[in-house]
Symmetry: C2
Subunit: 224 residues, 2 copies
Amino acid sequence: MVNSKVIVVEKIMDANDQVANQIHDQLTANKVFSINLMASPGAGKTTFILRTIRELSAKLRMAVIEGDTAPVTIDADKITAAGVLAVQINTGGECHLDAMMMKRGLEQLPLDSLDLVIVENVGNLICPAAFNLGTHANILIASVPEGDDKPYKYPNIYRGLDVLIISKTDLLPYIQFNMDYFKQGVGLLNPGLSTFALSAQSGAGFAAWINWLEKQVDQLKSNG
Amino acid sequence: MVNSKVIVVEKIMDANDQVANQIHDQLTANKVFSINLMASPGAGKTTFILRTIRELSAKLRMAVIEGDTAPVTIDADKITAAGVLAVQINTGGECHLDAMMMKRGLEQLPLDSLDLVIVENVGNLICPAAFNLGTHANILIASVPEGDDKPYKYPNIYRGLDVLIISKTDLLPYIQFNMDYFKQGVGLLNPGLSTFALSAQSGAGFAAWINWLEKQVDQLKSNG
């Protein structure tokens, strides 16, 4: 039984990577930059997305793909209320988005009139790390109330990152969080990782993140 | 391919439930009460366990089974330092403990000289909900910084609970958390669920939880 399980899983991963490659090519050809936002439940992904939308709405044409395990539209409704197109993907209980779901989401978006697609993955530090979605950047939002030991306990997700967002820094005065210990753990897994510490609530530190994102969108536009 | 995946998954779940039933009988026969603690990463499971151990160490003989996705002993070391036997189970990247892993953990414990086994599941709100471990109570720790919308977004885990712990209440003054909205969501999924709001850091509200736990241990002892 174990062997048949392994074979099935390998087939699934191969199929996923194939579709992810197609997605990456399609997004790049359309000059649409895309990010895959991963995090624990409650790390503040939606609040982070809403502030990013607000700060860039005058400059960029954006859409959001919302991954949820349950058929609820809480997050998608908030995005829509902010004036941005949102596509809801229900994973049917699965703990992550995969490239096939991402493809279904993209089919509902007008790629030729977008600059940026933000994917909000399912709240989870384990499963999403294994599934490439074909986006241009894998980003983890680690909120400080989760504690400073997370890189040590969930190394896989940190290894595959392009960007790390340390969020809810406004709560630092009220909790025990050793930033040096946290960053040391990250450094062991992913040396030189681009990192932004910020509060989507207060806005502190947010400008550097927006700056980075705008630069990526511009770079993709000016290529070729 | 989808069909073969479904069949494999069904076989795994059946095998899991069979082992879980054996575990439940074994623990009950030994009059060892056991709890399965589930939570998001960083909800404060280990801090919660450490305080529970501290408050009950004079009365109960305890052991902890630590589920981790990575081969790190951060949590197990803290438990051992608190003078309690800890068994580390590495899930090998899997996002949850299952009954077979639980069985391996129990084999390393002297059940005839224990009153309480605390299982710290992998930090995750999706996968652990599907795997019965044979414990007497399924408990979720929901920390307030995760936000008040979690019952709506992760309904499956709330449906299967025997107890809900609302943790990190000391942070309530610094965050937006609508307790009524949260509890309304819980009530829709699991009416009448035993709920304890507390801070393992300050100790506020902890006595009611300890009271409940002691009562369960006593009840199991006095049965039969």
